[in-house]
Amino acid sequence: MTLAGATEFETPCGATAVVDAGFRMLEIAAWGNDPGAIEMLARTLALPPPLHPGRATGNDLMQLFPAAPRRWWLRSDHDVTPLPDIDGLAVTEMSDGQVCVRLHGDTARDWLAQYCPMDLRPRSFGTGQVAWTLFSELRVLLHCVDSNAFDMYLGSSFAEDIIAHCLTARTRTRT
C-alpha cells in the first residue's frame, strides 16, 4: 500500500478515518535526569508551557507529545528547521516510520474502545491528552484532538494490516 499524503475513508462504525503519512516526526529522549533540557528545547521552539505529562503542547508549526517519562515525540506538518542541539537530549528521526490515522465522528470513541483497553471516557482522556496504549496488540500513540477526534500514530509496517482489518471491516454492531 502506498500512503502518499492523506487517504480518507469511512470506517465500519461510521466515523471518518484519514490516513496520513506526510509529516515529520522526531523522537526526543533525555539520557539524563535533568528536566531542564526538554524545557529549554520547548522554549527555543516557542512551545507554550507548561509541559505536563500526558498533555500535548503545540503551536502552529508543531506539537510536542510528552507521553512517556523522559521521552517526547515532536510532530510537524512542515519541515522543521534543524532542532537546536541541546545537551542531554537524543533526537532521532522517525518520520518515515510512522503513519497517523485520524478518526473523527460521534462513534470514534466507541470504535476505539473495541481495540484499546484504556479508559477513553472524556473525563479520563480528554481533548489535548496523549497516551501510549495498545490498539489490538499493537503499541500506538493516541492523541485526543478534540471531543470526537483522535490521532493514532502507529508503525508504518503495521498500517496496511490495521487498515485492512479494523478500519475497513464489515458492518459492525453499534451500541
Binding site: 500500500m1 503519512a21 539524563g32 518515515d96 509496517s157 503495521f158
Partner: protein, 986 residues
C-alpha cells in the same frame, strides 16, 4: 388439544401479531414477546428433550437461564445446548430437540431408563475400566448415548467482536433492586452500566402481579428503564450476561445481538469502579419420585408463564411448597383460568395474608402434607400426597397435568463468589447467602437473601447511593421509596430438600445430569464426602446449568447423610462463566488471518509486483523466493543463490531490528551489553556482535556500528527485535542505573537493502553512489553516509553471504526508488531461502537454529570473542557453563558420503548406525541446505564434543520423517565455502 393454552388477555405478548416457527420440523405459531419456551408451552408441547443418561422425556422446567431440560439446537447444524427459555421468538426460527435418536417421541436409548438400577453412580468409571484397551470401542458407543447435543459440523458462520468498557457503577440485574440502584447512582451523575441477560428489563417484575406506586410492576420497570435510557451517563445492555467477575472489578459481558438482527455477538471487558450485584435468586425444586416428568415445573416459572406470556403451562395444577411464594402461583394460575387442585404445603402455617387469598379462591390447602410421587409418561397424569408425619404407605391421588413446585429460593451468588466474596448458610431462607465482599462490590435485593419487593427496592436505592458515593459522586437524599405490594414475599422457608421415603431411581436432584438422590447417597457411602468429590464422581452440578437448580439440594442430602449441618459442608467453587459463552465470542475477531498483526516491509508492494512467494518471519511477511515463470521453488532458490555468488543480488533486510544508542555513556553501555570487546571500535566502523543472556547463552546476534563518539547503530535479528529492545531497556534501567544513555528503536524508519555479489560494486557505481571513500574502496566492516540514486543513505560494508556486500539504509518511504534503480542496473532480487543457503554455505549461525537459547559463543566457535575482563551480561553464566563444560554440543559441518542425499534440520546424530532409544543421540542437524555452489547437500550440526571429532563419521537419523536408513556423514569445520574470507574484501 381441546382447550387453549394461551389466555385471552394479560401478559406482555402482542396478541395482534403472529410468529411462525419450527420445532423438530413441525410448524407452530407464537406471538411477539414470546420466548421459544413460552411459545412451545402455548402450543402444548410438553416434551422438549431427552435426558442425558437415561434418555427420559423432559419438559420445560424453568423460565430463565437456570433451565436444565429445555436445551435445543437453533437452526440446522446450528448452535447446540441453547436454552429455549432464553431465546426470544422470531419469525422463521428453527429449533431442534437434542439427545434423541431417531425422534423425540421414539428414542432407542430410552430403554436405558429401565436399566437405571444398573447404571449407578460412577457407572462409567467402574464398568468401562477393564480391559483397558477396549475403552476406545466403548467410547464410540458411549459418545452417541451420552453427552449434550452435537457440535455443529460447519465452521461457525457467526462473527464476533470484543470491546472494552469503563464505568463508575456497573449494575448486574435489571430487576427491582437493579433498576432502583441504577436510578440512584445515575441521578448522582455516575457513569452507570445496567445489564441483564434477559431481553426484557424488569426481571421478576414482568413475571409477578406486583404493584409499585400504583402501577403494575412491569409498567413501573418500563418507565424506569425509559428514564434511564434517556440519560447520557447510562448504558443499558439487555440480552447481555455478566458471566465473569475477575480481578480488580473487571466484569466480562457476553452481549447477544438483537434477535433476528445481523449484528454480532460482542464480548465486553468492563472495568467498573463499583459493581452492584442485583442478580436475584433462583428457585429450587424438591427431590421426590418422578420429579422430572414433563409437567413438573418450578412454581415461579408456572406463574411467570401466565403473567408474562399469558401461557397456561397446564389445565389442572397442584402446587407443592415449603414457602409462601408458591401461593402466588396458585392465585395467578387460578385467576388465569387454571383449575388449581390443591396447594400442598409441608408447613403447619403460611402467611395469613396469602392463605386468605387462597381460601377466597376456594382452593384446598393441604397443610403438613408432602408430595410422594408424580406419575405419567409424556405428560404428568397425577401426583400422590400424604401427611408429612403420616405413615409412608398411605397416600392419596390428585389428578393433574401441572405440578408447580417450590422448595425455596437460592440467591444467585455466582458473581459474588467469583469475585472472591465469602458466603454463609442462612437458616431462615435455607440458602447460601453472600457474606463479606472481596472487591469493590455492593449487593442488593434477593441475592442477599432478602426477598420482599419493598426490601429489593430499598436495598437497590441504598446500594446505588453507596456505590455512587464510593465512586466519588455526592448523592441526592434518596427519593421517597416506592410503595409496593407483592403478597407472600417474605422469603422464609421450612427446609425440605427431599421427601422422606420418596427416594427412588426417579427422584432426581440434578435433572440435566440425571443424578438422583440415591446417587448422592451412594457416592457418600463410597467415600466421596467432599462436595468437590461428589460433583466429580456423580456429575452433580456439571453441564450447561452448573447445578443452578440442583446444587443446594445435593449439598443438603450429602449433609443429611453425613449427619452434619449444611453450613459445614461448603459449596463447590463458582467459576466463570455464569452461563455458557460460545467459544467464538471468547476468541473474538482476532482469528485466522488476524491471529497476529502482520508487518509489511516498506518494499512489500515491490516484492508483490515481482510475484514473490511470501513467508512469515516473526510478524513480518518476507519474500522467500522470486520464482520466474514456470520455475520450481528449488530452481528459483538455486538460481538466486548462484546470482549472489557470481553476479549481483539484492535482498530486502528492512525487517532487521534497528536501534540507535546515544549519550555520553553509550560506549560503556555497549561494552556491557555485548560479549565482544567494543571499546576500541572506532567511529565509522562496524562489528559483528553477540548479546548473551545472564546465563551465558547467546541471546541475539547482529551488528554494532559506531556512528560517532557517543552514538551507535545496532541491528538485531528480525525475529528477536522486540525482545532485544526490552532487554536493552531492562539492562539500562535496572543494571546500568545512572548511565547517561538513550536507546531508540528505529526499525520502522530505515529501509535496508543488502547488495551482494562480485558484481555488486559495479552495479552500485552504475546506480550512482556518492560517498567517501568511494563505495568500492570502502573497507570491510566500515560505514559511511552519502547518497544512493540521489537518496540520502547510510552504507555499511557488511556481508551475510560471504561475498562482497554492502547494506544500504535509506528512509523507508524512499526505498522503492533505490530498489528499482538497483534492479534497473542489473541487480537480481533474492529471498530468505537463498539467504539461508548462502549463510549455511558459509557456516554463519542463525538465531533459532544454532543460537537456539542453549548454546554459548564458545559452543558455536566464537571463543575468541569472549574473555574480556570488563563485566558484561552473561559473563558469569558463561564462565560457569564452561568451568564444568563436559561434552557440550559444538557447531560442526556435516558432509554426507552421498553428496546427493539431503540431511534435514532436526535429524539426530548417532555414533553407530541404527542406534535408537534414549541417550543414543549425540547431536542434531541445526541447518541444512542443498548448496548449488558446491553441487551437494551440506549441513550444520550441533554435535557433542564436535570440534574434536573433525574427520569422524557420524550417522544422520531421521525416523520421524520416515527415513529408513541412517545416512553416513563426515564431520568437518562449519564452513563450506571460502573459509579464508577472501571474497569479502577482494
Amino acid at each position: 388439544m381441546t382447550r387453549r393454552r394461551r389466555t385471552g388477555s394479560g401478559g406482555q405478548v402482542d396478541r395482534r401479531g403472529a410468529i411462525s416457527f419450527c420445532f423438530d420440523k413441525r410448524r407452530y405459531q407464537g406471538l411477539p414477546g414470546d420466548t421459544l419456551a413460552s411459545a412451545l408451552l402455548a402450543n402444548g408441547v410438553t416434551v422438549v428433550g431427552r435426558s442425558v443418561k437415561y434418555h427420559r422425556r423432559r419438559g420445560i422446567f424453568s423460565i430463565g437461564s437456570e433451565e436444565p431440560n429445555a436445551l435445543v439446537r437453533i437452526g440446522n447444524d446450528g448452535q447446540p445446548n441453547t436454552r429455549a427459555t432464553m431465546v426470544p421468538l422470531i419469525d422463521g426460527l428453527e429449533a431442534w430437540s437434542q439427545n434423541r435418536w431417531p425422534t423425540l417421541g421414539f428414542d432407542v436409548f430410552a430403554m436405558l431408563g429401565a436399566l437405571a438400577p444398573l447404571l449407578s453412580t460412577g457407572f462409567y468409571y467402574k464398568t468401562f475400566m477393564w480391559p483397558r484397551r477396549a475403552w476406545k470401542a466403548y467410547e464410540h458407543v458411549i459418545r452417541k448415548v451420552a453427552g449434550l447435543g452435537e457440535p455443529p459440523v460447519r465452521a461457525d458462520p457467526d462473527a464476533y467482536e470484543h470491546a472494552f468498557g469503563h464505568c463508575d457503577v456497573m449494575v448486574v440485574g435489571c430487576g427491582p433492586a437493579g433498576l432502583s440502584a441504577a436510578r440512584v447512582a445515575a441521578d448522582a451523575g455516575a457513569d452507570v452500566w445496567l445489564v441483564d441477560e434477559s431481553p426484557w428489563a424488569g426481571g421478576w417484575l414482568n413475571r409477578e402481579r406486583a404493584t409499585i406506586d400504583s402501577r403494575t410492576g412491569s409498567e413501573w420497570a418500563a418507565a424506569e428503564i425509559a428514564y434511564l435510557e434517556s440519560l447520557a451517563n447510562v448504558r443499558v445492555l439487555l440480552q447481555t450476561t455478566a458471566f465473569g467477575y475477575y480481578d480488580h472489578n473487571l466484569v466480562a459481558l457476553a452481549q447477544l445481538p438483537a434477535a433476528g438482527s445481523a449484528g454480532r455477538q460482542r464480548l465486553w471487558r468492563v472495568r467498573a469502579s463499583r459493581v452492584i450485584l442485583a442478580t436475584g435468586a433462583i428457585e429450587r425444586p424438591c427431590v421426590f419420585a418422578g420429579n422430572d416428568l414433563p409437567g413438573v415445573m418450578l412454581a415461579g416459572a408456572a406463574r411467570a408463564y401466565v403473567n408474562q406470556f399469558g401461557v397456561r403451562a397446564g389445565h389442572r395444577a397442584v402446587v407443592f411448597t415449603n414457602n409462601d411464594s408458591a401461593y402466588r402461583t396458585a392465585m395467578d394460575l387460578h385467576d388465569a383460568g387454571v383449575t388449581v387442585v390443591a396447594v400442598v404445603d409441608c408447613r403447619t402455617a403460611a402467611d395469613p395474608g396469602v392463605e386468605e387469598e387462597i381460601r377466597q379462591r376456594k382452593i384446598p390447602i393441604l397443610k403438613e402434607h408432602v408430595l410422594v410421587c408424580a406419575a405419567g409418561g409424556s405428560r404428568l397424569r397425577h401426583v400422590r400426597v400424604r401427611p408429612a408425619a403420616g405413615p409412608a404407605g398411605r397416600s392419596s391421588r390428585l389428578k393433574c397435568d401441572l405440578l408447580a413446585v417450590s422448595a425455596g429460593w437460592s440467591p444467585a451468588i455466582h458473581l459474588h463468589a467469583q469475585s472472591g466474596g465469602a458466603s454463609t448458610y442462612d437458616e431462615a431462607t435455607a440458602s447460601v447467602i453472600p457474606a463479606d465482599n472481596r472487591q469493590a462490590t455492593h449487593l442488593a435485593g434477593a441475592v442477599c437473601g432478602r426477598f420482599g419487593l419493598a426490601h429489593c427496592l430499598d436495598d437497590g436505592a441504598r446500594a446505588g447511593a453507596a456505590a455512587a458515593a464510593k465512586a466519588g459522586f455526592s448523592c441526592q437524599p434518596p427519593r421517597a421509596v416506592a410503595r409496593s405490594r407483592l403478597p407472600g414475599d417474605a422469603g422464609e422457608v421450612a427446609p425440605l430438600w427431599a421427601v422422606p421415603d420418596s427416594a427412588s431411581g426417579t427422584a432426581f436432584v440434578d435433572l440435566q445430569n440425571d443424578v438422583t438422590g440415591g446417587d448422592v447417597e451412594q457416592a457418600c457411602l463410597e467415600g466421596y464426602e467432599s462436595v468437590e468429590h461428589l460433583k466429580r464422581y456423580t456429575t452433580l452440578g456439571m453441564g450447561t446449568d452448573q447445578g443452578k437448580t440442583s446444587n443446594i439440594n445435593g449439598l443438603a442430602i450429602l449433609a443429611g447423610r453425613r449427619g452434619r449441618p449444611i453450613a459445614s459442608i461448603g459449596t463447590t467453587t463458582f467459576r466463570p462463566p455464569y452461563t455458557p459463552v460460545t467459544m467464538g465470542a471468547v476468541a473474538g475477531p482476532e482469528v485466522r488471518e488476524r491471529l497476529e498483526p502482520v508487518r509489511r516491509s516498506p518494499l512489500h508492494d515491490v516484492h508483490a509486483e515481482l510475484a514473490a512467494e511470501f513467508d512469515h518471519n516473526g510478524l513480518w511477511l518476507r519474500p522467500a523466493y522470486y520464482p520466474a515463470a514456470g520455475e520450481s521453488m528449488r530452481d528459483a532458490v538455486e538460481r538466486e543463490t548462484r546470482t549472489v555468488r557470481t553476479d549481483c543480488g539484492i535482498i530486502d533486510v528492512s525487517t532487521l531490528g534497528k536501534f540507535e544508542v546515544q549519550g555520553p555513556d553509550a560506549a560503556r553501555f555497549m561494552e556491557r551489553v555485548y560479549v565482544n570487546r567494543l571499546t576500541r571500535l572506532a567511529s565509522g566502523r562496524s562489528r559483528y556482535g553477540l548479546m548473551l543472556r545472564e546465563d551465558g547463552m547467546i541471546f541475539d546476534d547482529g551488528t554494532v556500528t559506531r556512528l560517532d563518539e557517543s552514538r551507535y547503530f545496532l541491528t538485531t535479528s528480525t525475529s528477536h527485535a522486540a525482545h532485544v529492545h526490552e532487554q536493552l531497556d531492562y539492562f539500562l534501567e535496572i543494571c546500568c542505573a545512572g548511565m547517561e544513555v538513550a536507546v531508540t528503536c528505529v526499525t520502522e524508519y530505515w529501509a535496508a537493502i543488502a547488495v551482494a555479489g562480485p558484481r555488486a560494486p559495479a552495479v552500485l557505481q552504475a546506480v550512482g553512489v556518492d560517498c567517501s571513500p568511494r563505495i568500492e574502496q570502502l573497507p570491510f566492516m566500515a560505514v559511511t553516509t552519502g547518497t544512493v540514486a540521489g537518496i540520502p543513505a547510510r552504507l555499511l560494508r557488511i556481508s551475510f553471504s560471504g561475498e562482497w556486500a554492502c547494506e544500504i539504509y535509506v528512509p523507508a518511504r524512499q526505498s522503492t526508488h533505490v530498489w528499482n534503480e538497483l534492479r534497473r542496473h542489473g541487480a537480481l532480487p533474492y529471498g530468505l531461502e537463498a539467504m539461508d543457503t548462502l549463510r549455511i554455505e558459509k557456516g554463519f549461525i542463525g538465531v533459532g537454529a544454532e543460537a537456539n537459547g542453549r548454546t554459548t559463543p564458545i559452543d558455536l566457535g566464537f571463543a575468541r570473542m569472549t574473555g574480556k575482563t570488563e563485566r558484561h551480561i552473561g559473563q558469569y553464566g558463561l564462565q560457569r557453563v564452561h568451568r564444568n563444560a563436559g561434552n557440550r554440543l559444538e557447531l560442526v559441518g556435516l558432509l554426507a558420503d552421498d553428496p546427493g542425499a539431503a540431511m534435514n534440520q532436526g535429524a539426530q546424530l548417532l555414533a553407530t548406525q541404527g542406534q535408537r532409544g534414549f541417550g543414543s543421540s549425540i547431536g542434531h542437524v541445526s541447518s541444512a541446505a542443498y548448496s548449488p555452489t558446491l553441487g551437494r547437500h551440506v549441513a550444520l550440526a550441533l554435535l557433542a564434543g564436535g570440534r574434536s571429532r573433525t574427520g569422524d563419521s557420524v550417522y544422520v537419523a531421521d525416523p520421524l520423517r520416515g527415513s529408513k536408513r541412517d545416512l553416513r556423514a563426515s564431520v568437518c569445520a562449519p564452513c563450506f565455502y571460502d573459509p579464508d574470507g577472501t571474497r569479502l574484501q577482494p
